[in-house]
Symmetry: C2
Amino acid sequence: MALIVHKYGGTSMGSTDRIKNVAARVAKWHDAGHQIVVVPSAMSGETNRLIGMAREIMGDQPDPRELDMICSTGEQVSVGLLAMALLAIGKDAVSYAGWQVAIKTDSSFTKARIQSIDDAKVRADLDSGKIVIITGFQGVDDDGNISTLGRGGSDTSAVAIAAAMKADECLIYTDVDGVYTTDPRVVSEARRLKTVTFEEMLEMASLGSKVLQSRSVEFAGNYRVPTRVLSSLTDPLMPLEEEANSGTLISFEEDTNMEQAVISGIAFNRDEAKITILGVPDKPGVAYHILGPVSDANIEVDMIIQNQSVAGKTDFTFTVSRGEYTKAMGVLEGVKGEIGAASVLGDAKVSKVSVVGVGMRSHVGVASQMFRTLSEEGINILMISTSEIKISVLIDEKYMELAVRALHKAFDLEKA
Amino acid sequence: MALIVHKYGGTSMGSTDRIKNVAARVAKWHDAGHQIVVVPSAMSGETNRLIGMAREIMGDQPDPRELDMICSTGEQVSVGLLAMALLAIGKDAVSYAGWQVAIKTDSSFTKARIQSIDDAKVRADLDSGKIVIITGFQGVDDDGNISTLGRGGSDTSAVAIAAAMKADECLIYTDVDGVYTTDPRVVSEARRLKTVTFEEMLEMASLGSKVLQSRSVEFAGNYRVPTRVLSSLTDPLMPLEEEANSGTLISFEEDTNMEQAVISGIAFNRDEAKITILGVPDKPGVAYHILGPVSDANIEVDMIIQNQSVAGKTDFTFTVSRGEYTKAMGVLEGVKGEIGAASVLGDAKVSKVSVVGVGMRSHVGVASQMFRTLSEEGINILMISTSEIKISVLIDEKYMELAVRALHKAFDLEKA
């Protein structure tokens, strides 16, 4: 008997018929003798519908606390419906909202972080034979306010619950059948990976590969939660053994059985915006004085570059997600005078493309091959950022697909 | 400065534009120096949409706990959107779900009863100048499960909050402009009452006048909460003085200024189903043995009649709402043998019509005039039930409108 956490995305929960399919699949695992906790997302389209109403009332920046109050309802409906679908086929099941568990978070509404999970109630239910269904995406802060974890937060909820309960495996059921060398919608030759290391997955998730939210991968890595990404579109009654080995497993060891390509995939992110502060006096603390107010406004910064200074002045560039571009520009206009900058420039039409792979550690020449490939396609590089296992470039958004296809081919990723 | 509770129904909250109207109206009252608590219903259609999905999954009898989990989300969306609409026009506002207040109820899911309300958090917010918005229709039980109060429960929430906080007045904004002598859709000459006594209102609400849920009227009566039913379809910026005197006030004194008609209105309820248990041995405890199991199944019984026994056998008849007819029939088929009944008959196509009025106490002949009027229209009376201030008859549903029109005219209700 194992303790397994299942997570189902919005598409898998997209209609009452699909919810019945999810119930059939969950029941199959329970029938095999496992204890099952299920973390479903809101039905597809629901979160957007709720945000849409909030924007009709309050514009582009709805009050974060009230937005969480509204958006958290999507998952609450999902857990109740899934519990009903299980009860309807004779399974004992019970649903909980995040605050009922409780899943405690900080108070950063719309992007809260999980601080603790009390699993006592859930464990008692499991021990009495119940299937437990818990809302993804949300929690409750110390003052009893409902918080949400941000888009894709249900992945994080599932992995965090698996970690807190020391689950044997966390299965992320989604509308793709695993992790690919890149998005098959962009490169038709993209190939599914049977395993991917935690570090590669982290880079790919944070770089905009939409399979798993990056915070969920961090959790999986920090707590070494065996996590598998697999399809919810298969027959719910397919043999359990076969299902348990499908998809892509996120592994924690670079063992010899693993695929040994130099790089594992090409990740990309359309959702980037670039902000440059020109002519800042180059003295200690300049980065802090620029990024401090941005961070205080709870805006996440991605790439950061500071150029060599000329005549005591330097240019400072960073990227944020496009949804926070206007807010970030506002913050910087406010502090521009204080930091002595000449001007602030922005460009919200940029994309990031990255090559990722643990094999990069032991192979030179990945960077030069990447830059040569882009150069041959006539693509100008706006920014470069590197880590031990990835190289990212920022380019004009119109070249993104071209860059991804060219790099996928240049690194022979279509070959197993 | 007064403490006022506003309640808005689903139609008033039916779109983001209407929610902005509600915000404008609430802001007007706050601007006049009052402390305001708002209790909104779910957006119109939302609760039915949620119940519809539950039924698609679990049929006509969805699990009550999970149904409450799902249905409570409608009001949660409403409070968040209304808080945003107030914030958007510069008012400080905060929303709470029932469990956050907390509004404590028993565990009778889908028809829970409020047990206590902790107003500490709400009072602190009001004292700091905030407008507080609380979900109607719902609460939380001692085990932390979400409960709902049943259809129309937001009225009860509003009055209960007004009672707990000793509010100066509870204003129930709805899509009608007050309490009428009967439903104007059935009798075009129906007339709005400026005041109605608590007792009359209680009879009318429990008899199916849809203006206010009966439990809310009980609360208003028990705690003497001054409650006014008024229209939410007027200009939100109409003069406050005028608005404060519109609609129908539920009064607690039969003073001399009140309208002195013998009866105040004709109430009716289409939603009745009749169950007759034939040939029950007439011995002590028979009523208990029939209704005990019905009550244990949490089914509310309305009219009850036991006929004179003949040859040691009696017939026992009672009514339930149509939604519980099948369940009630099932319960009785189960206990039929045990109570020694010959058979159980049911009819789900009956309606109840009632004349209501405190004036009835001092006037004889109301019953005879009622029965004569129905007789002249050729309407057969199936059951009769009376109280101090009302007389109800059960009739075939096809005669309902005819009966209401005839009685409205017979008692001169079109005249002020």
